[in-house]
Symmetry: none
Subunit: 250 residues, 2 copies
DNA sequence: ATTTTCATTCAAATTAATTCAAAATCAATC
DNA sequence: GATTGATTTTGAATTAATTTGAATGAAAAT
């Protein structure tokens, strides 16, 4: 077996399981313990994985690291099913906008590599998209430190040069009278611009955002279709008078 | 069997499997081991495949990706010391451009969080910069899958809206008469544009790039200062007639 | 304290580069 | 069309380099 082949298998296993013991890898590849160790040394030098006592783990970046909130498996499953549903709306040949954020990152993972053009303002989703071989454009501009979203005047100029078939927007609050809201005013403008540039716009948000409001108004309810999971009847009726809601069962 | 025919079969096998051993290829083609080796040497020179110990792999795919082991630890250390030196050139209040690439990524790691504005076209360096709390702007545009660099018309428009005090460019070849060269024409234009927009430009490259040439011309030698590590006298004299060279001891 | 894992070393095995003679291909002439 | 000599290609043999797996004692985990 070629060295490159072993390295590939090792990384493959890590991608699937997140970690692996030296013995596991030895069995999977058929190579000896010594050889696996040498491979791990090389791959660590190339910064492809992190070596730990007994084996190796994935090199986790800040963005791939699941936050405490995400780790709550209920919330995660909810996001995943919402993302999966949203991905189903995308058709071959579409040109779509993907907002920055964890929910949209999940959506990126569910995209099949169709004939697709994706424009995004969140650099975290980029890696996922490139892995899938999807044509990706990144909006330029100033980077907001915490979320890694592109904001500011340059970003607005940059996004204005595109037109989208569909846009998928993450949001912090959905309220019957205050509409869609988010924390950062600069992000809000970006989201609003993306919505205006789109033929169809979808807001994706888990049920906890329903009825909430945040600091900055993004748009009125009727401007987007809401994709969310199970929520209470009382909320549903008031909001559904103003726009379409797609409820995903999680 | 014709040589061209063997070459075709070899590439065919690689396309199907991603990699192949010398013995495999010998069996498939019916040629001797020696002949296959000679074929592989030729095909590697033509950049049709990548030779590895025991056989060969495809150039682009994920097989070769882990074998970024071209970046052996020695090379890595060299890059680190070059990056460290380059970081020392940056002054408080500077507005700098950081090219995409592994060397510039190392440079990002060595930046101290001064009062600094960084513009980059490589999305991999972004995370490092944000971690350090450095104000970061990302050039917009189409993402090149393999390197993760921003390229294309949008990227050029985007970068043209900035002006830099200093730019740091990664390069594949530095040659006394062909100047600075890199593999991808679209990346070459980006690099050239960044150089033109800068008050001072620095090319950072380890010694292996000296005397080499790649497909696309970026700029003439005199347009940038070269930052590199130890290299032979003969190369030094011819190139140093045309531009400044900063030699870093690794 | 015991077991597991790690780094280092070393010999065996595999693979690569080099050299050389035979075979094949080619060119020009008879 | 065959013959000869030059050139190229090929396969085998030799030597050099690399990779591999096991063995050892040190370090770490239980």
């Amino acid at each position: 077996m070629l060295t490159a082949e072993r390295h590939f298998i090792i990384l493959q296993v890590l991608k699937e399981q997140g970690n692996a013991t030296v013995h596991e890898l030895s069995e999977v590849t058929g190579a000896s313990i010594s050889t696996i160790r040498r491979d791990l040394v090389q791959l660590e030098e190339a910064e492809k994985l992190k070596r730990v006592h007994g084996g190796a783990t994935q090199y986790r970046t800040k963005w791939t690291e699941p936050s405490l909130n995400e780790k709550s498996s209920q919330n995660l499953q909810e996001k995943t099913s919402i993302a999966s549903y949203a991905a189903g709306l995308i058709e071959d040949g579409d040109c779509i906008f993907l907002d920055a954020g964890t929910t949209t990152q999940k959506l990126a993972e569910h995209l099949s590599s169709k004939n697709l053009i994706v424009v995004t303002n969140g650099y975290q989703v980029v890696e996922t998209l490139l892995d899938k071989g999807i044509t990706t454009y990144l909006v330029g501009g100033k980077l907001k430190p915490i979320t890694g979203a592109m904001i500011g005047g340059k970003a607005l100029e940059s996004i204005a040069t595109y037109r989208f078939d569909k846009s998928f927007i993450g949001i912090n609050g959905i309220h019957e009278s205050f509409g869609y809201t988010t924390a950062d005013p600069e992000e809000a403008i970006m989201k609003k611009t993306a919505i205006d540039l789109s033929r169809e716009s979808y807001v994706i948000a888990d049920h906890s955002k329903i009825g909430e409001t945040a600091f900055s108004k993004v748009a009125d309810l009727h401007e987007c279709t809401i994709i969310t999971s199970h929520f209470t009847e009382s909320n549903l009726t008031k909001i559904s008078e103003q726009t379409t809601i797609e409820v995903v069962k999680s």
